[in-house]
């Protein structure tokens, strides 16, 4: 990759980089935005022109950076004649549009947004024409659909703009999806996703049995983008866009993307009957149909839109012919159509801007009022009609010449006659554009007083009409670029000589017939128009809308059928689906023979099992009595922790016991405010159904785990056991895994726990601000209350227990690295000790003695754990690498200091803070509900009884 390759990258990137600027300087005004849009465009154009001479000499400039080589995706670009032609058009017209839009858009429009979208689109379009990798090309292809959606819907306040944008996105997006399929097939046949490789593999592709699939899918993409029949309907609706957008997207660039793609794939896909009949026929139909509809449109932009459809059909037809001469004609017409059609769109925009209407029936006589616009519009329209000395004539002659000797299914007349009719119709609408807008008497009922616009607005179309005339008079000027592009399309060295006079050929007669006939038809336009309006015909938009409506109602039916607000239904569907999938997987794969024997069952474990099963069944059968169910669920938790002890998991047992305690306290606190009983409201049928689901799920899980436990698997655990002491410095492997091997996970988990704490706190606050607060105030809970809520015995005992509990917590924390324990358990133990104070002595009393806020504690915990991890960076190790050393202080035995302990301290603080914050939040609610505030620890304090007999409030 040489310098020129680097330049190519820069060219591809410039619009995207530039797109960042106008959007953020939206307040800087139209001039600044336009200037900052023009700079990257001009820069890219300049760079492109430095590459042009080499490309014109037949070289291709290439640049490649591997991106995802496993998928065959690389960021590779190449520039050949075709790419150069299109890139010049995109950037050149882009510059003109930037200038035009500066004067067209009003100061009230968000101009910065417009230019950002424009540059995004320009970058995407440029990407399409210079991509070497078809996957990359697809990405840019979809980007043009998206950015054109933004541009078409730029005037968000107009419903037509939004609908048009949606329709364009739906049609071109769907085509893009089809094209992805086609491109993938193509890449598979060719064995590479690089365009240069694919272009070499034409024979293999045409011979492949997948050729037809690929062809149809790719053509779907191209036809939708280039508005070919029957997908032509989106283009006129996209005219709701601001005119600069129409001029840029719908004459010069986006709609040409489909044509570009067909030209690009021409060496690979063309040359077969299928190609000829699909592409040429579609093009022919589109050309005639588009021109016919254009004839009867009274909206200037709609007329131009259908004329564009017609001309795109012409290009498609030429490419469909599959001959080299037709390819030359197509390339030449791409240039010509760009010049006159962009100029015409801008003219229509000027007329709209000045007269405030685009309705041809309300216009006329503008020749005298807007002389400059008149000249520009007339020259461009004459070129569109194919009048000699303008460039449209030249390529139309070439088209007719090709059509005149094309044989369609054995008939030598069909294509020439249809092509002549198409040309005739285009003469009619072109003349109509000139005649009905500029000629005729000056009227006095224009919606606004028309006059020529400022220079800035007509400069761009004027420049384009200069090109129209220049090429029209001196066609050899375009020889070079047409030769380069046509050679790139056909893959053969071509040297066309473009000239005005071809001698007396069939095409000449066809042209004369078209112009003469066109003039006659225009005279009869009035009666024809009335007849046309009376004829019923299928309205594409209505069909599209019906289709959309049907899709919407179908998805609504599915969504509302499954998503009806009943959570128990979702859960049932979810459970049943999981069970069914599990059963399918189970049935589908054979099971290996068990490799492990069963362990014996000691009697005491059997008793535990019976307890657990009975408790579970009781929870289910007695869940209507909520307190009872809560007590029973505690039994289950405790039995499980006993099981953990027996099954060599002391850490789990410790954690389970402490979590169990905290959970039950939490649920008790919450139950205080909830109904104490669950009403029996499920029908018997429903209960039976749920029981069946539950039993199916239960037996499935039981079977699964039983099968699981009987078989050995290879695990990575031997690594942890082997390295726990060596690498982590601890003998409690579980703890070392938590704070060292899998420290990252633990770090994430304490953050989640902290977030849960804050979430609860936030919920509590929003509750106490809302209607719930009033309900709390007004509900009388006094009946539920014990008369002696802070009994003397409990206060004294918890006070004594407090230091002991703290000591136990510290002990568990310190031994965690080598013996069962650690930050999680220690945090929970200390939390329980604190909770006991709350329970025994009341909320206010305890709160008054609290020194550190729980939020702060969570924060400190996370920060300490994080800093410990970061500390490893200082020593050049990855995040959370731990280090340890052994210290020997004379009076005490040798002990260990590990950074992992510091990390565990973070865990400890976070767990403690989160648990306390959760319970604290619930108690806040209790206090709000009219709980009396006690300042003394006991309701009845014997020590004070003599001073004040009753402390109760």
């Amino acid at each position: 990759m040489g310098t020129s390759g680097n330049l190519l990258f820069l060219i591809a990137l410039l619009p995207f980089i530039g797109a960042l600027v106008p959007g953020i300087m939206i307040r800087a005004g139209r001039n600044a935005c336009a200037a900052f849009t023009a700079v990257p465009t001009a820069l890219a154009l300049l760079l492109l022109l430095t590459l042009a001479p080499a490309v014109m000499d037949g070289e291709t400039v290439q640049a490649e950076v591997e991106w995802l080589p496993q998928l065959g995706l690389s960021a590779s670009f190449f520039l050949d004649g075709l790419g150069l032609l299109f890139a010049c058009m995109i950037l050149g017209v882009g510059l003109l549009i930037t200038l035009y839009a500066r004067f067209y858009l009003s100061g009230d429009d968000p101009v910065g947004q417009f230019y950002t979208y424009l540059l995004l689109f320009q970058g995407a379009m440029l990407g399409i024409v210079i991509s070497d990798n078809i996957l990359l090309l697809l990405i840019f292809w979809e980007l043009t659909s998206l950015s054109s959606f933004l541009l078409i819907g730029y005037w968000k306040h107009l419903p037509e703009g939004r609908q048009g944008a949606r329709m364009a996105l739906a049609v071109t997006g769907a085509g893009g999806l089809a094209m992805i399929g086609g491109m993938l097939i193509l890449g598979n046949i060719a064995g590479s996703y690089n365009l240069t490789d694919i272009l070499q593999a034409g024979d293999a592709i045409r011979a492949s049995e997948w050729y037809m699939h690929a062809l149809i899918l790719i053509l779907l993409g191209a036809f939708t983008k280039s508005a070919q029949f029957p997908f032509h309907f989106w283009l006129p609706h996209a005219m709701a866009a601001p005119t600069p957008v129409s001029a840029y997207l719908h004459s010069a660039t986006m709609v040409k993307a489909g044509v570009f793609l067909m030209a690009r794939m021409w060496p690979v896909l063309s040359g077969t009957d299928a190609w000829f009949y699909i592409v040429a026929t579609t093009g022919l139909i589109t050309m005639v149909l588009g021109a016919l509809i254009a004839l009867f449109k009274s909206d200037l932009k709609a007329l131009l839109a259908f004329s564009t459809v017609s001309h795109l059909g012409l290009l498609t037809m030429l490419l469909g012919f599959g001959t080299q001469a037709a390819a030359i004609a197509a390339v030449f017409h791409i240039i010509n159509h760009l010049t006159f059609k962009a100029a015409l769109f801008m003219t229509a925009g000027i007329i709209d801007h000045e007269t405030h209407t685009r309705d041809i029936r309300r216009l006329g006589g503008l020749r005298k009022l807007m002389p400059v616009t008149f000249v520009i519009g007339t020259v461009a329209a004459l070129s569109m009609a194919g009048i000699p000395l303008f460039n449209g004539f030249l390529s139309k002659e070439m088209m007719l010449e090709e059509a005149s000797h094309t044989d369609w299914a054995g008939s030598p007349y069909l294509v020439p006659v249809m092509a002549t009719i198409g040309a005739l119709l285009s003469v009619v609408y072109s003349f109509r554009f000139i005649g009905h807008v500029f000629f005729g008497p000056v009227r006095d009922d224009y919606p606004s007083h028309p006059h020529d616009p400022p220079f800035g607005l007509w400069a761009a179309p004027a420049l384009l009409t200069v090109l129209v005339v220049l090429i029209g008079v001196m066609p050899f000027l375009a020889d070079g670029i047409v030769a380069a592009a046509a050679s790139a399309v056909t893959g053969a060295e071509l040297n066309p000589h473009l000239k005005i006079w071809h001698g007396v050929t069939p095409a000449l007669f066809m042209s004369i017939a078209a112009v003469g006939g066109g003039a006659i038809v225009l005279l009869a336009h009035g009666p024809l128009d009335r007849a046309w309006n009376k004829t019923p015909r299928p309205e594409a938009k209505a069909i599209f809308d019906r289709l959309v409506a049907r899709c919407v109602s179908l998805s609504r039916f599915i969504a509302e059928g499954t998503h009806n607000g009943s959570m128990s239904r979702y859960l049932a569907i979810f459970t049943v689906a999981s069970v069914v999938m599990g059963a399918l997987a189970f049935a589908g794969s054979g099971m290996s023979a068990p490799t492990r024997g069963l362990l014996p069952i000691p009697a005491v474990i059997g008793v535990g099992w019976v307890m657990l099963i009975v408790a579970t069944i009781s929870v289910v059968s007695m869940h209507h009595h909520r307190f009872r169910a809560l007590v029973l669920i505690g039994i289950i938790g405790l039995t499980i922790s006993a099981g953990f002890v027996y099954l060599s998991a002391p850490d789990l047992a410790l954690t389970q016991i402490s979590v169990e305690t905290v959970t039950i306290m939490l649920l008790l606190l919450a139950l205080h405010f909830l109904p104490k009983d669950t009403p029996r409201e499920s029908s018997t049928g429903r209960r039976v159904r749920d029981a069946i689901i539950a039993l199916a799920a239960g037996s499935g899980v039981a079977g699964l785990s039983f099968a699981f436990m009987q078989r050995d698997i290879s695990t990575i655990s031997s690594f942890h056991i082997a390295n726990s002491y060596e690498g982590g410095g601890g003998t409690n492997v579980v703890n070392v895994i938590l704070v060292d091997f899998r420290g990252y996970d633990t770090y994430g988990e304490i953050i989640v726990l902290g977030i849960a704490g804050f979430l609860i706190y936030a919920l509590m606050h929003s509750l106490l601000d809302g209607p719930a607060a009033r309900r709390l105030r007004n509900t009388d809970y006094s009946l539920d209350r014990s008369r002696d809520r802070h009994p003397l015995m409990m206060v004294v005992v918890t006070r004594v227990l407090m230091p002991i509990a703290l000591l136990v917590g510290t002990y568990i924390f310190l031994r965690g690295h080598n013996q069962p324990g650690g930050g999680f358990v220690a945090g929970l133990v200390v939390a329980i000790a604190l909770l006991m104070q709350y329970m025994a002595s009341g909320f206010a009393w305890t709160q008054a003695r609290q020194r550190i806020e729980y939020h702060t504690m969570i924060g400190f915990g996370v920060v300490i754990a994080g800093l410990t991890g970061l500390g490893a960076w200082l020593f050049g190790s990855p995040f959370l690498t731990s280090a340890y050393t052994y210290v020997h202080l004379p009076p005490i035995e040798e002990f260990e200091l590990a950074t992992a302990m510091l990390f565990d301290l973070g865990v400890f603080l976070t767990v403690l803070g989160a648990v306390m914050l959760m319970l604290y939040s619930l108690s806040r609610i209790a206090r709000y509900a009219g709980e009396t505030v006690n300042v003394t620890p006991m309701d009845y304090d014997p020590g004070r009884a003599s001073e004040d007999g009753s402390e109760k409030s």
């Binding site: 929870v619 809560l630 998991a649 785990s705 919920l763 767990v911």
Partner: protein, 117 residues
């Protein structure tokens, strides 16, 4: 022993599933608690059962140890499921206090009310 553990897991799952299909918040919370027990034990059992082989390295020679990794996973799972239960409890409490009903399903009438607004 495996049979005992598997049947315990199955029973707790069945009980949990039945309870989460109830119509009020509190049984659903209980059901989720039961399900968390079941899932935790299931995860733990994926390390295979072992007796007297705690993953505490012995300083006196090589011993055989049970698989420590599932234990570490379950340890955090227990703490996290506590956090989840707590959030759920708070949400259901809030819902009850705001709406004076602890049903978990949206009534059709609520739908209509939303549509009217």
């Amino acid at each position: 022993m495996e049979l005992i553990v598997a049947s315990a897991i199955g029973t707790m799952t069945a009980g949990g599933v039945y309870l989460i299909l109830r119509l009020r918040t509190f049984p659903v919370i209980l059901g989720l608690a039961l399900l968390s027990y079941a899932v935790n034990v299931f995860l733990f059992s994926s390390g295979r059962l072992a007796i007297d082989m705690s993953p505490i390295l012995s300083r006196y020679g090589d011993g055989t140890y049970t698989d420590p990794l599932p234990q570490a996973l379950v340890l955090t799972a227990i703490v996290i499921s506590f956090g989840m239960t707590a959030v759920l409890v708070m949400i259901s409490l809030g819902a009850f206090l705001e709406a004076d009903s602890d049903r978990i399903d949206i009534d059709q009438t609520d739908f209509d009310k939303d549509a009217d607004q």
